[in-house]
């Protein structure tokens, strides 16, 4: 085993933190540097669109580790300084303040950035929701109970809609898909969630593209322009149309970049470079497909895997073969998904039902189970995780009979 003498991790969120913690936990004694573009100690992002936005939690609750625990890791932390370039030949990271940080092994964990609507730069009242500042700005805006238009109907938009309604805002959700969350959960379950949003007073405009925002002479947003010619008035607009991997700083290096850092099945990208978290694209050994996942649990699991694989070395590294997991909290519903439900050609509710708004559904593709989703059936859903992990043949009737209740 030839352990690197120094490891530099770029990205100080869940994945990057996971790497340095794993390295120390497994006895690594070499030099560790953690570079983070944001000035904050590592913090948690899922609560940004939930408890932080609603005011249930203050910022301190988001801190992932107490300062003393971070100190014990004996890591050179460079926070508030973004990486701006990478020299893979000389093995050095170029930082925004002009400094260079060397490495023998490098982990790219720079995450992803929210996509913005073209033409919204500098327009006041147009928000995205990705980092702490975004969440605090949106929270301040929602406190004035504005007319809010949410562009996009993914999890971030749906969670923000739920919080905004609870805060008393007038909320309209505009989405180009026919059923909000339908791409993730299927038309039936997505439709049920859309009904819940409507019952809570969210106006949903499905199946229509947003062409742009309307602003007044003072560059304050006044509404959104829809592709079908209609306009919707708004005081605040939240754009939740996905995110793109933060790979710009790798330009000109030898690191292969496509939709994210293109790694092998072990999360290795060559030349001493590994990747973890939202930025990492790897070939999932189970599906054989190149995959990039923007979920919190994936970041922690990839951080763990990369830490171990660095210590094992590229030749001995193990493939990363997780059962992906994501959750979303909307009103009193907890939505949980194991595996991959997007693109499924079969959906079957095997426990509970749409009417009671408690259910477990299995998703199939190519004759095998590829995913499982639950609504307010936490333990029951977990019993079906094994079917997803093993990609068992598509026989949902058997699951219905044999599933643990």
């Amino acid at each position: 085993m030839n352990r690197p003498e120094s490891v530099t991790v770029v990205g100080a969120s869940a994945a990057g933190l996971g790497v340095v913690e794993t390295l120390r936990r497994e006895g690594y004694e070499g030099d560790l540097t953690l570079v983070g573009g944001e000035p904050h100690l590592p913090y948690d992002r899922p609560p940004l669109s939930k408890q932080l936005l609603s005011g249930a939690w203050d910022v301190g609750r988001l801190t992932l580790r107490q300062p003393e625990a971070l100190q014990e890791l004996d890591v050179d932390m460079r926070l508030g300084v973004p990486a701006v370039g990478l020299d893979t030949a000389k093995r050095a990271v170029l930082l925004g303040d002009g400094e260079r940080v060397g490495y023998e092994a490098l982990v790219v964990a720079t995450g992803a950035s929210a996509r913005r609507l073209p033409g919204t730069e500098g327009v006041r009242g147009v928000h995205v929701l990705r980092n702490l500042e975004d969440a605090q700005e949106l929270k301040a805006a929602l406190a004035r109970r504005p007319r809010l238009v949410i562009v996009g109907s993914g999890f971030v938009g749906a969670e923000a809609a739920a919080v905004a309604r609870e805060l008393g805002c007038e909320v309209t959700m505009v989405t180009d898909v026919a059923v909000p969350l339908g791409d993730a959960l299927g038309a039936e379950i997505g439709g049920m969630l859309a009904d819940v949003h409507r019952e809570h007073g969210v106006r949903i405009e499905p199946g229509v593209m947003v062409e742009g925002v309307l602003a007044d002479g003072a560059r304050q947003v006044r509404g959104v322009q829809l592709a079908d010619g209609r306009t919707i008035e708004a005081d605040v607009v939240l754009v939740g149309i996905g995110a793109g991997a933060n790979t710009g700083w790798l330009k000109g290096s030898s690191v292969p970049v496509g939709n994210g850092v293109e790694c092998d099945a072990t999360l290795y990208a060559g030349d001493g470079v590994w990747a973890a978290g939202d930025v990492a694209s790897w070939v999932h050994p189970g599906t054989g497909r190149r995959t990039r996942i923007e979920h919190r649990t994936n970041a922690a699991e990839q951080g763990l895997a990369v830490g171990r694989n660095i210590l094992a070395g590229p030749g001995e590294a193990k493939p990363f073969a997780p059962v992906p997991y994501v959750w979303s909290d909307q009103y009193d519903l907890k939505v949980q998904i194991y595996g991959s439900t997007r693109g499924a050609d079969e959906v079957r509710i095997v426990e509970g039902g749409l009417g009671e708004r408690r259910l477990v559904a299995l998703y199939g593709q190519g004759g095998r189970v590829c995913g499982a989703a639950g609504i307010n059936m936490v333990r029951v859903l977990r019993a079906h995780r094994r079917s997803v992990a093993d990609a068992v043949p598509w026989e949902p009737e058997a699951a219905l009979v044999g599933g643990e209740r």
């Binding site: 869940a14 996971g18 913690e21 794993t22 936990r25 948690d44 899922p46 609750r61 992932l64 580790r65 919190r296 649990t297 922690a300 699991e301 951080g303 763990l304 997991y325 959750w327 909290d329 907890k334 949980q336 936490v378 333990r379 977990r382 995780r385």
Partner: protein, 64 residues
């Protein structure tokens, strides 16, 4: 080994149960973590530390 939980932060992901099934469980109604064994035997340490590492809400703290 001493385990402390910040239960208010738990999001019910159940990753801890998958990592250390003898130490953690979930409540039926909402999936919130339940500690089955406050002082698990030392051979469980690896699993418990892994549970703490993969918890997506940083709920679990382990002291040796």
């Amino acid at each position: 080994m001493k385990i402390s939980l910040d239960v208010d932060k738990c999001c019910g992901a159940g990753q801890c149960v998958l990592a250390a099934p003898d130490v953690f469980d979930q409540r039926d109604e909402d999936g919130i973590v339940v500690l089955l064994d406050e002082n698990p035997p030392a051979e469980q340490l690896g699993q418990v530390r892994e549970a703490a590492a993969v918890c997506p809400a940083a709920v679990i703290e382990v002291q040796e």
